[in-house]
């Protein structure tokens, strides 16, 4: 199921991108925060350096400039200067509880941690030590220690950690995504089935229950509609078959007796001619019924197709030969123009012959003054469609009427009434062509003949 794969892939991809984005964002924000804290204007280090820099010797001791004093006040910090012996040489805001002399041990202790609870920071100042103390509980001091080996392998570890994280995210997202997709999968399949009009019943459970109900009821509705449409089509087609069946018996009598009279020597020549007209019209009616029956079956997709691999050139030759063998009038000439002799399609030969014969007969019927009819087959190779073109150089038809010719007579799509014949011929041909997955197009102009192009998928 493609849709499921796509959804899962998108979901996993999105989750990974989101996680990486969050990770980067966090790292950036954290480092910004830390560097701000450590390197900022009021960071212990900055205050310390400032104080150390501005502390200068005056006659009896040391003095601090105002700026540094302000800074210390701001941070509620105190400062002192220890000399080599550990005595306080200078002090500023030094709380009374702080001793005024320190041993080496004391210095070592507080430089690492706290002096009586005050977080203190030290800085060297020309043989002396500047000590700054911040209020109790204001800073926490940590001094991490690392093996050099550990530090040197840090990049690898970080990379491994990131990779591990990504793997965990991937795994989690696949698990979550799969369970989501699993519950959505029946729905996706259901919708696909709906679009193909297949009957479907989706198990209704979980968060998609309502959706499943909707899909099921839509499917049921579609099936019902198709069923009733099919039944109506069948009824119509059967009705037409029935009617044409009922017409056949009386028509047998008309044809039978008319042709009997036509050959009778008991009546005058004129009466024989009239009987001949009755017979001829009866035969026209017979072909109309046959066409009507076929068109209705094709229209309602009830015509069984006997598909075989068929060479179009063989069809063209057979149709031409049939016309020539049946004494085609000298006014008409049929030419073959085959450039794709190997063009083969899957076709019901009888139906295809009927379509082509119909087109040739059309050209003959509409051009009583005579014309040249060409049957052409064009096919290059590969999967290109084969084209079967029946054209004449006769009177032609005006362009706006062309499309109309393919519609069934008396249907709502047909704008102009039928002028000659029963008007079923071209609609029948069009339906035969589309039953073969082909397309039919007409081109014509008054006085320039008619060309009917049938394109079929080649095999």
């Amino acid at each position: 199921m493609d849709a499921v794969k796509v959804i899962l892939r998108r979901f996993v991809g999105f989750t990974i991108i989101l996680s990486i984005f969050l990770l980067i964002l966090n790292i950036v924000m954290l480092s910004l925060l830390i560097s701000n804290e450590i390197k900022g204007e009021n960071s212990p280090k900055a205050v310390l350096q400032n104080v150390a820099a501005s502390l200068h010797k005056v006659d009896a001791g040391y003095a601090l400039n105002d700026e540094a004093k302000d800074m210390l006040l701001q941070n509620q910090a105190w400062a002192m200067l220890l000399n080599k012996e550990g005595d306080v040489d200078w002090e500023y805001q030094l709380p009374a509880e702080i001793p005024r002399a320190f041993s080496v041990i004391d210095v070592a202790k507080f430089s690492r941690s706290y002096l009586m609870g005050y977080p203190v920071f030290v800085w060297e100042h020309s043989d002396s030590l500047v000590v700054i103390g911040f209020p109790k509980q204001s800073y926490a001091k940590y001094h991490p220690y690392f093996l050099v080996q550990w530090i040197s392998s840090l990049p690898t570890r970080i990379v491994l950690m990131v990779v591990g994280n990504i793997a965990i995210v991937l795994l989690l997202s696949i698990i979550i995504g799969t369970s989501f997709v699993k519950s959505a999968k029946p729905l996706i399949e259901g919708i696909h089935a709906l679009s193909k009009e297949n009957p479907i019943h989706v198990e209704a459970k979980g968060i998609f229950r309502d959706l499943a109900y909707s899909i099921n009821s839509t499917s049921d509705m579609l099936q019902e509609k198709n069923e009733s449409l099919k039944m109506r089509d069948e009824a119509r087609s059967n009705w037409i078959t029935g009617i044409s069946h009922d017409i056949r018996t009386p028509l047998s009598m008309i044809l039978g007796y008319a042709s009997e009279l036509e050959e009778s020597s008991d009546i005058s020549a004129e009466q024989r001619r009239q009987a001949g007209i009755i017979r001829q019209q009866g035969e026209n009616l017979r072909s109309l019924i046959a066409d009507l029956n076929l068109v209705s079956k094709l229209e309602y997709e009830m015509q069984p197709l006997n598909l075989e691999v068929t060479r179009l050139s063989a069809i063209a030759r057979q149709v031409t030969t049939d016309f020539l063998n049946n004494d085609l009038d000298d006014r008409y000439q049929i030419n073959l123009n085959v450039t794709g002799d190997h063009a083969k399609i899957l076709a019901d030969r009888k139906l295809l012959m009927r379509a082509v014969t119909n087109l040739v007969q059309n050209s003959i019927n509409h051009n009583p003054q005579g014309c040249t009819i060409e049957l052409a087959i064009h096919y290059d190779s590969g999967h290109l469609p084969c084209r079967f073109i029946v054209s004449d150089d006769g009177v032609g038809i005006s362009n706006p009427d062309l499309k109309d010719l393919l519609e069934l007579p008396y249907s709502s799509q047909r704008k102009t009434p039928v002028r000659t014949g029963h008007g079923l011929g071209l609609p029948m041909v069009a339906r035969i062509v589309s039953a073969h997955q082909g397309e039919l197009s007409l081109s014509s102009r008054i006085g320039q003949g008619l060309a009917v192009t049938m394109s079929f998928p080649s095999i």
Partner: protein
Amino acid sequence: MDLIKNRKILIVDDEYEIRVMVEGFLRKEGFFRIYTASDSQTALALCRAEKPDIAILDVMLPDLDGFELLTQLRTFTPMPVIFLSARGEDEDRLLGLGLGADDYVVKPFLPRELLLRITAVLKRVYMPIPSEQFPVFHLGEISVDLESATVHKDNREYPLTAKEHALLVKLYESRGRIVTIDALCQAGWGDDGTSYENTLMVHIRRIRSKVEADPSNPQHLLTVRGLGYKLVLKE
């Protein structure tokens, strides 16, 4: 006396007018032993009693349909049967012929056509041409014997190969009419003889060398360009 006209014909159709009309045509043509039935039971009884030589059956009958009637007839008689039906769908025709009918005529029909078909079936069943299945015919001075597959030209005898024979039979069956390349390939090489067109030309040339007085200027086996060939018998 024409033996064919002596044959007994049974017409089974539920339409009275059709029975009358067909009987009328047949009588006019000289048939005189004609029986009619309007349903299957009558037809079966008539068949047992009168033993007609051929039956013309409608498919739609009030009791059994024509197909079932034929099945029942076949249990006791192998007589030829022609269906005459208003049901012209391919399935019906195939069903009828598949059940062993000798022909299937669709209503509306021309009486002449029905007569020709009845006569053809009667001839085939009751007057088989003894032994000689392939004809002998003449193309000008040359005589072609399809039975022995030989051509007699200038007092000499030329044998025909199997392929040449098959092609000539096909051409002779449709003599005077064009036979398409495709139909000839089919006759010579079976099923889909599409790739045999060039071979066909070679064979036609060989046939001409045997049956034409001047093979380069054929008078009887004519080429119809782009379509096929035509065998013309001139007396």
